[in-house]
Symmetry: C2
Subunit: 351 residues, 2 copies
């Protein structure tokens, strides 16, 4: 029997820290990262029926929610842990933090553990802009951004990389948030107008992105603000009791969703009847349903974020970090020489 | 604005590696560890109604299962990731590997990430022996152990520490497993008899522990093997389609379970009618239901493992490693100085 005390390579799970995720993003460039990630997301949307889809498992408290979002295909299993605590920001914490794991379906061993706070911001932006490619008016250049928090800059870069947006109209209820976004995005070469109201922000925009963070029913967009041909990218309404759009806008829009079972509970369409028609985006990407029909149509992506997007992100990161120093080995799995001799392994560790 | 690039202490999650879990077990001694852990489990069973109880979220494949087991009280949220792949052993992998996370309910931030392969073995054993204290015949000294795999030694130590067992009668369909268990347990001072059949193993035993690993209906214990007054600690039948006991034994036993909703699907009692009477162990521990009634009664702990036991184990480990070098800080949470400036944090990391 081997009595080598060095853990086998099976004991180690590749781990991507926040530091290494930032290095990876900066090495690739945020737009390069988002563009490649969007290709993984599109690939997975196009094989949507292959996935084992489970609604997220949410644990709600007065202060927020902690969720587990699992999904799997025949080869890989992934899940994301994510919290949402709107009151965190005031206390100096992130509203949303996340990490995720990718595992082998055939033996159950994790093959990646990674930070996902930054990665979630990137995958949310990548998904929005990927959807924008199917739904935004042709030749879109101007995007209104209402809500200039943590997601704002990632959305802007994603829409430039995938849809050609170069002009931004920023508005946030807190001018400090707008100033922060302007500072960051000017450095990225965008043409930026800061606005003093949502109404002003949407003027002349082909795309309207809403990403505010209040955990309540709100009316970030009222009916009069949206005109013919606009594409609405609604990010912020993503849990029961939280919406951003006036119901009348929904009734004038063609609505596109990730996973109707989840969006009807969490998205803007929680305001509508359970059988209100929506189009599933995977069908649009497979060419089985129509995306934008004409230049006058109002399109709405009612984004809530689905586990398959996280799965794509985990798959992308694993492919990127495999065999590089962006991942460090984490001693997370007990792997005795004889699988039945877990106790002996513990005993021998006494040395 | 601070532009310090050192991550804040909020960015770090205490991580207990396999190496450090083994150090902790060896520092405390396995029996000392189990005894203290059992006290945490008992404490949590006694406040059972306070927990947010969700059935485990399982992803099944041909080769096995990957599960997430979450639970929470008002202050802490915990979940365990665990796989079960019976074919792994032949391929040199563990049948079961696990890790877990404990988080603050109030802000959603993880406060502990730990290996749980070893910890699960310890918590399963601690739970069995804790239950044994309520159900086993008084003055029990002899335990039969059918199935001498990875769980065997932990069960033996737990039953010595909590119930006074000092004599073991070992049987496994594979003599190599029995030889392994005997070798490990002789070093621990047990009086050991190796047996050539399950029938021989149960002779004279006050407690009968079954922990075999086949993912199928099996009859490890047939009706004639169990006599008056014995306590059966049935560990192995823990998923749909997997049982160890002949149905006739169940019909002669008083059956005790962790969480009926889960045990009726996963435990031995999946062989019985949905309304077959069972007693919940938390009620026994609170004195609201009777444990062992008399010396002639056959008692059965139909163990499947419930999320609250993992929660207790996570809580125990956190208390033990807090402020020690058994935990190492893991850079897992993005924590920008300005929570809304996630993008700026990534940008500044370019250095």
């Amino acid at each position: 029997m081997k009595t080598d005390l060095t853990p086998s390579h099976l004991a180690f799970v590749p781990f991507v820290s926040v530091h290494n995720m930032m290095r990876l993003v900066n090495t690739m460039g945020a737009e390069g990262f988002i563009t490649e990630l969007a290709a993984y997301i599109e690939e997975d949307f196009k094989r949507w029926p292959e996935f084992d889809k489970t609604p997220r498992v949410a644990s709600h408290s007065h202060e927020g929610v902690i969720e587990l979002m699992p999904t799997a295909d025949a080869e890989l299993y992934g899940f994301k842990y994510v919290n949402g605590h709107p009151k965190n920001m005031k206390e100096g914490f992130q509203t949303v933090t996340a990490f995720g794991v990718l595992s082998s379906v055939s033996n159950g061993y994790p093959v990646l553990l990674t930070e996902m706070t930054i990665l979630t911001a990137l995958r949310t932006a990548a998904t929005s802009a990927l959807v924008g490619r199917y739904l935004a008016p042709e030749g879109s250049k101007v995007m209104a951004m209402i809500g200039n928090g943590a997601q704002c800059e990632f959305q802007a870069l994603a829409f430039r990389a995938l849809c050609g947006i170069n002009t931004l109209r920023l508005y946030d209820i807190d001018p400090a948030a707008t100033a922060k976004a302007k500072r960051n995005l000017e450095g990225q070469g965008f043409d930026i107008t800061t606005c003093t109201s949502g109404q002003e922000a949407v003027e002349g925009a082909q795309i309207v992105t809403t990403c505010t963070a209040d955990k309540q029913y709100a009316t970030i967009l009222s009916d009069n603000m949206i005109g013919r041909g606009q594409h609405i990218n609604a990010i912020g309404g993503d849990c029961p009791g939280k919406t951003e759009l006036h119901k009348d806008i929904l009734l004038r829009s063609d609505i596109f969703v990730e996973y109707p079972e989840q969006t009807r509970i969490e998205g803007e369409i929680q305001q509508l009847a359970d059988d209100h028609p929506v189009t599933e985006l995977w069908k649009v990407m497979r060419g089985e349903a129509q995306g934008r029909r004409d230049a006058a149509q109002i399109t709405l992506f009612d984004s809530v974020g689905f586990a398959i997007e996280d799965f794509s992100a985990l798959r992308f990161v694993r492919d990127k970090v495999d065999g590089t120093d962006f991942a460090e080995p984490l001693d997370m799995l007990a792997d005795p020489d004889d699988p039945r001799d877990l106790f002996g392994m513990v005993q021998r560790a006494k040395g």
